[in-house]
Amino acid sequence: MNPESSPPPTMIDLIKVSKVYPPNIQAVSDVSLTITKGEVVFLTGMSGAGKTTLLRLISRMEKPTKGMVDVAGMDVSKLSERDIHLLRRKVGMAYQDFRLLPERTVAANIAIALEVVYCPRSLIEKRIRELLEQLDLMRKYNTRAGELSRGEQQRVSIARAVANNPEIVLADEPTGNLDAETTARVMALFEHLQRKGTTLLIATHDRALFQNTSHRVVELRFGRILSQSRAEGSDDDLFELAPSLLEEIEP
């Protein structure tokens, strides 16, 4: 059997996933989505469309109300609290609110992700420097995270998410506070990770991020998948629709 002909393994598999927040807020509704290893998928949609909830479901920050979430071969909803670290070590997440420790330095914030997997100090140092170089933050190595601009904090959050070379990277609005040049640096880092086989799921409002790429774009609206398509310029057409939603927006 030729290994090159076998399809890449599935890394994220959402099957009819719904999430309802109390009292009765439907954040995600019947979402099914399959992402294979090494794929880059852009998750787009208006505010409140369910992008962040979907990322939180994948990283097991939330449990689905209905449906199955399978990540890197693990049924996330059945994962016990004791074993949750097994998933989190495979999934790196850059949060919309950054989740940095303001009193700690930039280096210390990134080091956290490496310390929990008992990475040797020398390797931690090396990896931090490498990432800060890539994200143009080397001069901020010893600066406290609380003293950084929002754009810089965002980059530190991204660096921490990818520091551990996770199999999957989830990025929630990773370029929301960045200028064009820094956005390009972040995207270059993501492309680099993809080449190494990392699966990326990027939630963004910024259409410019995916307009000239061949990556899959999943559009969410009111918690449902409105469409899945290759980005503009790509040969692929729209390949999935939510008919009920289309009726709503195109009467």
Partner: protein, 295 residues
């Protein structure tokens, strides 16, 4: 190895973060250990002194006349029927006189012309040397008083009763100070750990998100408790040793009152106290983690 290096680093960071309450806890633990171990030391030494003094403890049963051999056997039989004793000695009037003469030493000429049978015959009963024997002495004495031909029974009644009361008091105080040690260490450590948990809440949540195991998050807090208990106990015992040496110095010298049997704890006891304190603080830390750290 890496795990413990990280755990130690985190524990140190925790302690730096809440150093004021850490200091207070350390002080409280040290003080509790000092109070407990002081009373325990006094109690243990009192027991020891009791045993030493017990060596000289005897009941002297004065008789109206020298007992014949069959009567001596009868006395011996009756005494042994009541309780076990180390030995029984019969002292005749003449032996009593010789002893008295010996005690007077160079001044024994005062006895010139005094009849050698002016002192009464007696039985010296040496009870078994345990502290309990002290409490049984009175009952023993009452029993001996009922034997035929007995004029009087003598022993250090007041001294024994006071000493026994003192031992009882020390036992109660040691137990109370032990309870104080348990309460203060567990409560104070639990309180400090709770403060640390609140101070590091954001970081702990983040650690969970980046894939830290439960042990990775919990162990530094347990280590923190163990350090507070261990170091606090060392300080407490160190202070007690200083106090002990100071007191020993005050009683040193040829003209001072000697403290024959008073000694500091042996190593196993020191290790046991440090271990107990450490264990209590870990328990306090564990209870705080269970209540306030939701993983």
């Amino acid at each position: 190895m890496r795990f413990w290096a990280v755990v130690v680093r985190h524990a140190c960071r925790n302690m730096m973060l809440t150093w004021k309450s850490q200091g207070m806890t350390l002080f409280t633990v040290s003080l509790s250990v000092l109070i407990f171990s002081f009373f325990y030391l006094v109690y243990v030494n009192a027991l020891h002194i009791g045993e030493k003094l017990g060596d000289d403890l005897r009941l002297v049963v004065y008789l109206d006349e020298d007992p014949s051999l069959p009567l001596q056997e009868e006395y011996r039989h009756r005494i042994l029927k009541f309780d076990q004793v180390e030995r029984i000695e019969f002292i005749s009037r003449e032996q009593a006189f010789k002893r008295f003469e010996h005690i007077l030493g160079p001044n024994n000429d005062v006895l010139t012309g005094v009849p050698t049978d002016f002192l009464p015959a007696s039985i010296e009963v040496y009870p078994v040397r345990t502290l309990d024997s002290l409490s049984r002495i009175k009952r023993f004495s009452d029993y001996l008083q009922t034997l035929p031909g007995v004029l009087k029974v003598q022993y250090g009644k007041e001294w024994i009763e006071r000493f026994y009361a003192f031992i009882q008091l020390m036992r109660v105080i040691t137990l109370l100070s032990g309870s104080l040690l348990i309460m203060t260490t567990t409560f104070m450590v639990a309180h400090t750990i709770r403060l640390t948990l609140f101070a590091r809440q954001q970081e702990l949540e983040l650690l969970r998100l980046v894939g830290a195991t439960n042990n990775y998050i919990r162990t530094p807090f347990l280590l923190e408790g163990a350090l507070q208990g261990g170091v606090g106990a060392c300080f407490g015992l160190g202070a007690l040793l200083v106090l002990y040496n100071w007191i020993a110095l005050q009683f040193a010298g040829p003209n001072a009152i000697s403290l024959p049997a008073f000694a500091f704890f042996k190593w196993p006891v020191v290790v046991a106290i440090i271990g107990l304190s450490t264990l209590l603080c870990v328990a306090g830390s564990f209870s705080a983690i269970r209540r306030f750290l939701h993983l």
